[in-house]
């Protein structure tokens, strides 16, 4: 079953007096449980594609369906709800909330949902923090953690709401190779365990060995999907 269907998507950005064509008619389908890597050089359109799939950006034209919902037709409130319930994000620069500790950062999406009890939230967050191996840092603030630890917190936060899709934009770009490997291992492990669809972008060919599916992108065109 396809969780994502992208058809003929284009994205143009104005840049001064010129227009940047970031995506030029992209078609992409992602099956449930995929562990997909989008690879391409810098400026190829990876992040733009992920942002559109993640419903934080809208295409200039084309159709994007997430779980059958045409997101280009949804209003902001519904798209925000869709992101909260169906999509998890892992950012290149971790993007943790600095005033919250590890537990609170992980609990954050569940608190936004306003449908779980305090006990459920704590249990779910602690389960994921244990899975990413950070229980001993649970009360630490992001500033007190290393880059790898922060990214683990970001992974736990992305997965805590039990989303259908986790989007990771160059999740290892700011990490050393050893930490990168452990993060990818963790993502792969969680993909298999939680059956969550993972889509991550990278420009590092080393990362590809972890991917089950690879999409190559260059100059806003999908070169191949396999």
């Amino acid at each position: 079953m396809n969780v994502i269907e992208v058809k003929g998507v284009t994205k143009d950005y104005p840049l001064g007096k010129t227009t940047v064509h970031a995506l030029r008619g992209v078609d992409l389908t992602v099956e449930e449980g995929a562990f997909m890597s989008i690879i391409g050089p810098s400026g190829s359109g990876k992040t733009t594609l992920l942002n559109i799939i993640g419903c934080i950006d809208t295409p200039t034209s084309g159709s994007v369906k997430v779980h059958g919902d045409e997101i280009t037709e949804l209003e902001d409130k519904k798209i925000t709800d869709l992101r909260l319930h169906k999509i998890g994000f892992i950012f290149q620069t971790f993007n943790l909330i600095p005033v919250l500790n590890v537990r609170e950062n992980v609990e954050f999406p569940l608190l936004l949902m306003k449908k779980h009890s305090k006990g459920e939230i704590t249990a779910r967050a602690e389960k994921l923090i244990t899975e990413v191996g950070l229980m001993e840092y649970i009360e630490h603030k992001p500033a007190e953690l290393s880059g790898g630890q922060r990214q683990r917190v970001a992974i736990a936060r992305a997965l805590v709401s039990n989303p259908d899709i986790v989007l990771a934009d160059e999740p290892t770009a700011n990490l050393d190779s050893e930490t990168s490997e452990s993060i990818l291992e963790l993502m792969r492990e969680l993909n298999e365990k939680e059956k969550t669809t993972f889509i991550f972008s990278t420009h590092d060919p080393e990362v590809l060995k972890y991917a089950k599916n690879i999409v190559k992108i260059r100059d806003g065109h999908i070169l191949g999907q396999g």
Partner: protein, 578 residues
Amino acid sequence: MGLILNLSLRNLLRQKRRNLLLGIGIAFGMMILVVANSFSHGIVDVLIKDVVSYAYGHMSIDGIQSGSQMTTMIRDKQRIMDAINSTIPKEELIGAEEKIGALARAIGNGEADNVFVVGASVRNEKDKKDFFEGFFTLVDGSFEDYFRKDIEYPVIISSAVAKSLNVKVHDVIKVRFPMVTGQVQTAQFTVIAVANGNNSFMNIVVFLDGERAKSLLGYKPWESASMQITLKNPQRTAKAYADTLHRKLQPELLSIVGKVSGADCQILAFKNEDAAKEELNRHIKVIAGDPKKAFAKEGVMVSAQLARKLNLRVGSEFTYEYRTKFRGLYQEKFRVDAIYSSDTKLGSNIILMNGERIYETYSKFLPVDTKSGYIGGDDALYPVLATEWKLLERSRDGVALQKALKEERKIKTSQPKLNVNTMYEAASQLMQFESVLNSITLVAVLLLFFIILIGVVNTLRMTIKERTREIGTVRAIGMQKKDVRNMFITETVLLAAISCAAGIILGILVMQILGLITFSSSSDLSMILKDRHIYFKMDPVGILMNFLLIIFISGVTAYFPARRAARLSAVEALRHYE
């Protein structure tokens, strides 16, 4: 809401220095507001509750007697007391007292100064407690000596008077003051106690027993200067009671029922006004004598029937005799200026005279029998005839009262006047002082807060700029726009609320400290001091309203930058780099 509150609170603490500086600014503004507000309330409280209510009572009925100078005089205090008692229910009335006082020149030991001699009656244990304990702090002497009969005029003076006259307990003060009769009286007062009052008004006052003060100033026992009424709920009831009393004190026609050579007669007086005289001239006919003289200030006219009966002619003298309320039988000689005939309700035994001829006699020798009932208010002659006193219109405020009194002074008449007022009118300028003081405070504080709020907006803009990526992150994760907006508003409101609360506490501390300072009773500030300290009176409702106003302004000020933050595109915000 819990999440937003938690995040807002933590974000506040995150930018400690910036928020601390802004918070100090808001707290300082709030502190000034609290102190200034309490100060103005304190001043008004001291002035109104102590000085004004002491000087005017909550309500006052003043008798005004015109002569060579205006003096205060109520000729029949019992009549006024009856009106008071029938108007104000006992449960609403704290007391109705005679107010007797005069400005006097006092000479002590080689020093002289102006003092205000006030009669204060202390009749029982309750009075003793209220007066001695409630008003004074004894410095020297004994209050018990106030009642000694072997001392002619025992007085209590303040330290300020003692100092200015260079006297101490048992010393004698010579005083000179005008009596109600216009004569200048001198007396020797013996200082039996030096005691300081709880407000500056007491600093120039010399207290003397009420009855002795009355007699010294020339008042008879049944007379008084004015009646001072103290109410339980003055703010609520004073004006209404004053209006009712005003209605009850409408004067009757001036009428004296008496005898001339054993024949029953009645004196009625006409107003010494041209219009009144013209009107009267239309209803009566002068059949003998000079009409000009008859209507003049001293004019006396006898009805034709009475003239015939008593064999009176123009130029004849007759003795009018009547029973008075307080002085027994009274006789006065009059000369006939004219004889008149009338077809009106005026009886056959009427002696008509100009009010100016009879006002003084009437006031001093109040008649027992007045019986003027057969000329009613709807009678054409009624507006022409003089009344026993002139009741001044109720004044809106102090300015109107002063203006009315000034106008009255211009009219040369010996007709007594009666004025009913409350402290709210008599001291209205003082009352306005509070609102002026509050307005100035508010304007100053609003200006201060305007400046601070510019700080709030700038701080918020900087905060939003610094946290743009964070906004992008929370929006990407799934925080709704309104929650982002509320988060920033909450931050500002929390900062304002915490700062305001700190400002209130700081204000209370400042007031406590300032309240500890003792000022000299001769200080320029003495009018606004209470027990020689600055008196602050907190107005919790006012402070709460200001608190809420500031919170509201902070919220409104934060709304627009916060809305802009919430409307940021998530993807743009995530791309933002400082």
